[in-house]
Symmetry: C2
Amino acid sequence: MNAGRLAGFDGWRDLFIDRISRDNQRMTPQRLQIAETLYHHGHLNVDELHRRVRDIDQTVGYATVYRTLKLLERYGLVEVSHFADGTARYEVHVGGEDHHDHMICTRCGKIVEFENEAIEALQVEIAQAHGYKLTNHRMDLFGLCPSCQ
Amino acid sequence: MNAGRLAGFDGWRDLFIDRISRDNQRMTPQRLQIAETLYHHGHLNVDELHRRVRDIDQTVGYATVYRTLKLLERYGLVEVSHFADGTARYEVHVGGEDHHDHMICTRCGKIVEFENEAIEALQVEIAQAHGYKLTNHRMDLFGLCPSCQ
DNA sequence: CTAGGTGCAAACAATTTGCTGCTCA
DNA sequence: TGAGCAGCAAATTGTTTGCACCTAG
């Protein structure tokens, strides 16, 4: 049932492999494991990601997780978000996919993704009205999820 | 010409004094100086704020700036934003005032504030559609300001 | 082979906290 | 007077980097 999900990972991983070789860098089992783990559990911070990777490969170090995330970030294959807890959270970014934003439960921390074209259009208008050329944005909604209300 | 601006500070400072006494805490010259400096220069990070405060009172320490900002934050008198540079930036928050968001120039760092009711309304709709009770939000637009394009 | 990667530990940077003397209410 | 501050420096926490050994290509 998650064949599509796995196929999705395969495609994304192939992008990683492609970008890494064009960049004269090497693919390693650690990098692959980090990428795969992140792909299957979005919105992880480095500590959580490191723990999950370590469940599979005991030897992977913290620094390698950071360095791999930096690589993925440079290749545009992941996106970082800084929420209130002071840690950076990562999730995979699939090229042609629409940008999405986050709604975070302030009690349990659950994160829901959403996208809204009307807001995106308004953002462009606002930027133009101030003479800015919009390149990117970040929007987080905070509140209580259904089960925490 | 900035009489209105000063009057604004007076009101906000009085809120600070009021909240601080209700909280069984004390007003001190350092706290007042930190509050006043922040009021007159929004979007400062701790280092910048500390430097400006020190221009006026050489003895104020880093920790006091942090502790005062925590107080102000707890009282709802300032808002924190985490932009990409890893430091927290503070600005005063006046009670009845409408929430505003930020547009940041990715080249020179200039920050413009704006507010947009249509987007706020859409945010409420999105939250409801996911069963969330919206309490707060954050929206940052990134791009190039007119002089950096 | 060898440029580049890994893990570890040390270095950094932002923020917090313990402590001792000081001060507002 | 006494509970609560201030300043300093040491401690934490998140992230980066130097180095000696290891490995993908």
